[in-house]
């Protein structure tokens, strides 16, 4: 049913990659057992900085998961045929990213064995409850869509008609998962750094820049490794999407900086100062903040200039810069920065410990493993069926 037999046939290079990922996961599992027995004290978290690497990575990866919509929406709502070979890759990436999100939340829990309490004693007033609903739902949606698409391609037929409303539902749902994640932060009265209406739009903009950037990199990678070509037009169209999203993201950041520094309100300014300049002897975030801004600027420049955007070499560089800068901004600066200073003014630093980093790397490796296996299955299916997905999943208009 899952066509996994296609994933166990591969070159030496493939198996070395799988082996590396499994090795990372094994190490992470060992450290997680330590964390499970000893407690979250094994991390660099503290009474003042209570969310760090795990929740930061979760926040970033929710964006990557949501970004599949940037490929799905043009294809299914606007008949943008050029994305035909890309949509299933985007959906596979989405499922893998959502899985890592859920895993990051689970490894962050102090009492993971009680995780089901969030369902048993549901509290709709809590944004975390809605986050659970939206992540679980998005996982089910995308897993269904991916499976059905692959099966249809394998059999060489169009997918069943009922998948169309499911795909259409995944579009607003993708927006919602990242909005709800932003709501986790932007409704807290005691955290002025997060208490801004622009947080959700900023999240979405950075998601729609970083996710498709990763997708471009993955498509180029599999073109080089496997020969599966999604098409020059598809790549350049997604690059345009990344450009717009990155422009909006940088614009939003500048808006935040203006409001904070023109108003001169200390509680607004101090978080940004802490991130970019370092305040009160505490500068653990500064390298991340500064490099994030520099990379964002460089990425934006490369993306806006048509020559560098169209040149594949510089596009790859731009995508890497986009992804890494937004990862540093959202995965590290945003979450940790909100806790510094603490409600009582303490400037407690945060440095992740080795076990924490290994567990984080392990969850990323699980995501990478899922993407690898999915792509292997998808591409083998495409080759075997001598199809290229371009004529596979039908659009709404055709079905009618």
């Amino acid at each position: 049913m899952f066509m996994l037999e296609k994933a166990v046939v591969g070159s030496r290079r493939y198996w070395i990659w799988i082996g590396t990922l499994v090795g990372i996961i094994a190490v992470a599992f060992y450290f997680y057992l330590q964390q499970f027995n000893y407690g979250l004290g094994i991390t660099g978290l503290s009474r003042n900085v209570t969310w760090g690497l795990y929740i930061g990575q979760f926040t970033f990866l929710v964006g990557v998961a949501a970004s599949a919509v940037m490929v799905v929406l043009p294809y299914y709502l606007h008949n943008h045929k050029e994305f035909g070979r890309m949509t299933v890759l985007g959906e596979c990436l989405a499922v893998s990213a959502v899985t890592t999100c859920i895993l990051f939340i689970l490894v962050d829990l102090g009492q993971p064995m009680r995780a089901l309490n969030i369902i048993l004693y549901a509290r709709p007033n809590s944004m975390m409850f809605w986050d659970m609903i939206s992540l679980a739902g998005y996982w089910v949606l995308n897993a269904t869509i991916t499976l059905v698409s692959l099966h249809a391609t394998q059999k060489g037929v169009a997918p069943p008609a009922w998948i169309k409303p499911v795909i259409l539902l995944s579009i607003p749902w993708a927006i919602s998962i990242h909005t709800v994640t932003a709501f986790l932060y932007s409704g807290l009265p005691g955290r002025p750094f997060w208490l801004t209406a622009i947080l959700a739009p900023r999240f979405l903009a950075s998601a729609f820049a970083s996710g498709p950037a990763l997708l471009i990199l993955l498509c180029m990678l599999i073109r080089r490794l496997d020969g599966y070509d999604v098409g020059r037009k598809a790549i350049s169209d997604v690059a345009i999407i990344v450009t717009y999203a990155m422009t909006v993201n940088v614009f939003f950041l500048l808006m935040e900086l203006f409001t904070s520094f023109y108003s001169q309100i200390p509680t607004l300014m101090e978080h940004f100062e802490n991130m970019y300049v370092g305040v009160g002897g505490n500068s653990s975030l500064v390298p991340w903040g500064q490099s994030s801004v520099v990379m964002m600027a460089a990425a934006l420049l490369l993306l806006l200039i048509p020559q560098t955007r169209r040149n594949e070499r510089t596009l790859v560089l731009a995508c890497i810069l986009t992804f890494v800068s937004l990862w540093a901004d959202k995965g590290i600066c945003l979450v940790v920065g909100g806790f510094i200073p603490s409600p009582l003014g303490a400037m407690t630093g945060y440095v992740p410990t080795l076990p924490e980093l290994c567990i984080g790397a392990g969850v990323w490796a699980i995501g990478a493993l899922m993407v690898t296996v999915f792509y292997k299955v998808a591409l083998s299916t495409a080759v075997a069926a001598r199809a290229d997905f371009a004529h596979g999943p039908a659009t709404v208009k055709e079905a009618a």
Partner: protein, 257 residues
């Protein structure tokens, strides 16, 4: 009998589901054994505390309230400040009331130690964000309570609290405890804790441990909804302030500066 494998699996699945449904039902609905006598519940209370920082400042080295709380509730004391657990503690005035700080202040006021604890807010953000209901505001007395059986340790409440009142058990607290007080449980690693206004003492008719321990009379505890209570009289006769009232949380710990 000509049954396909698919049909057999479907039948087995349905049977298992039916059987487990019965078990699930009985697990959820265990019957009570005997008639219970509930403690008389006085509804409509809003318990609150008034802290006179002037009286506190007369005894700068006094830590009686903190020690009483620590002893009564088995609160661990960690050398590593990152893991510290505290329900009531002192902070300098400038940290507790940043909006009250001015360039020129009476001598000693800026650094004056102020007791801080959970404010048991009228509109608590921590209760709003808790995904499991492990923390909630009791109707009977207004205490924002903790259920350590239900807490999953997500620490969302700690992010939501504007006062930094909550602590998390990063490791097993028993590693930083000496002799245990058997009257009150410890907590375990992975749950959030905070001051609960001592409901276990209130049911016995006693005041919270900190209030009872204070020899300077700096801590006053009572029901805001009772017009005859001492705390009401005090609040109506002298000027008091609260921490960050502009956030709309409605804190119930008042301070005389």
């Amino acid at each position: 009998m000509n049954i396909s494998r698919k049909q057999f699996l479907k039948l087995t699945g349905a049977s298992l589901l039916t059987l487990s449904a019965g078990k699930l039902w009985s697990a959820l609905a265990y019957a009570g054994q005997a008639v219970r006598h509930p403690v008389q519940l006085i509804r409509g209370k809003q318990l609150a505390m008034l802290i006179d920082t002037r009286k506190c400042a007369e005894h700068p080295d006094c830590t009686r309230c903190i020690e009483a709380c620590d002893q009564a509730h088995n609160i661990p004391s960690f050398k590593n400040r990152a893991h510290e657990v505290k329900w009531i503690w002192t902070e300098p005035f400038e940290n507790v009331f940043p909006s009250e700080e001015t360039r020129f202040m009476p001598a000693g006021l800026k650094e004056r130690p102020v007791m801080v604890l959970c404010n048991h807010c009228d509109n608590p953000p921590c209760v709003r964000v808790c995904p499991t209901g492990a923390t909630w505001k009791r109707e009977e007395d207004g205490i924002v309570m903790m259920d350590w059986h239900r807490c999953i340790g997500c620490r969302y409440c700690m992010a939501a609290c504007p006062y930094g009142s909550r602590s998390f058990n990063w490791v097993d607290p028993r590693t930083a405890l000496g002799e245990l007080n058997p009257v009150f449980p410890t907590r375990t690693k992975g749950v959030v804790e905070k001051c609960t206004f001592c409901p276990e003492r209130l049911t016995r008719g006693e005041e919270p441990a900190c209030v009872q321990a204070c020899l300077a009379g700096a801590l006053l505890f009572g029901d805001l909804n009772d017009p005859a209570s001492e705390i009401r009289k005090q609040l109506e006769t002298q000027r008091t302030i609260r921490r960050r009232p502009e956030l709309g949380t409605g804190p119930n710990v008042y301070y005389v500066i």
